[in-house]
Symmetry: C2
Subunit: 256 residues, 2 copies
């Protein structure tokens, strides 16, 4: 397996997108970052590691696609723009059925996908992690050794207290913590067009993490803007400053 | 264990609150329903089964409390109003540390809590389930045999597709599916005071589930209204029609 990995793949950097808490927009942020990195000229892949709550294929409107795989390799789906995606849910026959597997099985499956993935050349591989600090999070952090981890949170104490535990987990596993993206931070008033905050300021957790940027609550912020890309001019502007920090924190040496 | 359960406990009905997807307000809805059931005159308990992403203690502002337990029993925390709560996070010394346990361990822990819980007399025990369809969901559905399951969702296709898988899981396990509560359905405009929808109408999933009611996105909708209760007059009005459907669907025979 290791041999195959080295033979067919050249993945320069791996970045995990995590939150601990679900429903904060982790997958949305993942596809936004992926598209932004593509726009910056990098080769990008997404590994959808949220097996029981897979969202990536639906966000990219490719949920009816099927990945081709033989015994030894899994070939990613490739969008027109060149984004490569591997998701367990693109390997199932009936995508509407729940995946009722124990954590130990989920861990084996994600390891199996990891070892068989035929990514080819990638600058950045983004891993969309499931909520929680259990099996898959453990497997990804311990065995895939990401070069950095990004947290997605919302500016609410209840959520921040759970995200903070995931940051602790990352530190305990000696993985680099890049910073936190605060999603759903504000909303544009449908009447007057002014932005207003959705949550009260988080007093307890604000200072404890490096905030990479704020993103608004907006319908379809990560909707496919056209057949090939995800971001439009406005949403690219929102994510681009965050992308630049990440590029600075997890540098690809050959391009620097 | 079984003997102890029967000796010390008389729990009439068990209802699971599930979503499959995280961050939809499952714990918020759980405490709202619990308080509403108390207001209807029932004896109510909450088992917080979302071990790695525990939210109940924080919502009830009891996160600094410690549950007393000896080798054989775990005594719930009891609020002034009489709500009984058992949460793993109330048994830990350092509540800020992540719980990095494999799914098999999480399953054993929740079974252990289940068998040792000293609930006394309860009419309704609500179980706040973690996201996903893996270990804890499996254990709760297979081994605790809830009398009914409620889904919490938001009216967005991406979320609904995941919640729908959890409904399938409940059907496959032959557990009664009561219906779905659509949370974060609308928001009150901060300028004009009119309600507006946060998501576009879900075309795909609307017809496939029984909708019990809609709840708004609102700051602190489940904030402790006073030292003992959670709901104020306005929020009680929001949840009460849903409570009545649930009481009808999972009846306590001795009270009917």
């Amino acid at each position: 397996m290791e041999a195959l990995q080295k033979e067919v793949n050249s993945v320069k950097k791996v970045i995990g997108i995590m939150s601990g808490k679900g429903g904060v927009g982790k997958s949305t942020v993942t596809v936004m970052l992926a598209d932004s990195l593509l726009n910056h000229g990098y080769k990008v892949g997404i590994l959808d590691a949220d097996i029981t709550g897979s969202s990536i294929p639906r966000l990219l409107k490719i949920e009816e696609e099927h990945l081709s795989s033989d015994q030894d390799t899994i070939k990613p789906y490739i969008t027109e723009k060149g984004l490569k995606i591997i998701s367990m849910s693109l390997m199932l026959d009936d995508k509407k059925q729940p995946i009722i597997w124990k954590g130990s099985v989920l861990s084996s499956v994600i390891q199996n996908i990891w070892s068989k993935a035929n990514w080819g050349n990638l600058d950045y591989l983004l891993i969309d992690m499931p909520p929680g600090t259990s099996d898959i999070a453990l497997t990804v952090l311990q065995q895939f050794h990401p070069n950095g981890m990004i947290m997605v949170s919302v500016p609410q104490d209840l959520v921040q207290s759970i995200v903070h535990k995931s940051i602790e987990m990352v530190h305990q596993m000696n993985i680099k913590f890049i910073g936190t993206i605060l999603n759903l931070s504000y909303m544009t008033c449908p009447c007057c067009g002014n932005d207003f905050k959705l949550y009260e300021e988080s007093k307890e957790f604000g200072a404890k993490q490096r905030i990479l940027g704020d993103l608004p609550a907006r319908r379809n912020v990560a909707e496919l803007a056209n057949n090939s890309g995800i971001l439009n001019e406005e949403t690219e502007k929102l994510i681009s400053p965050i992308t630049r920090i990440i590029l600075e924190e997890v540098k690809i040496s050959s391009l620097v």
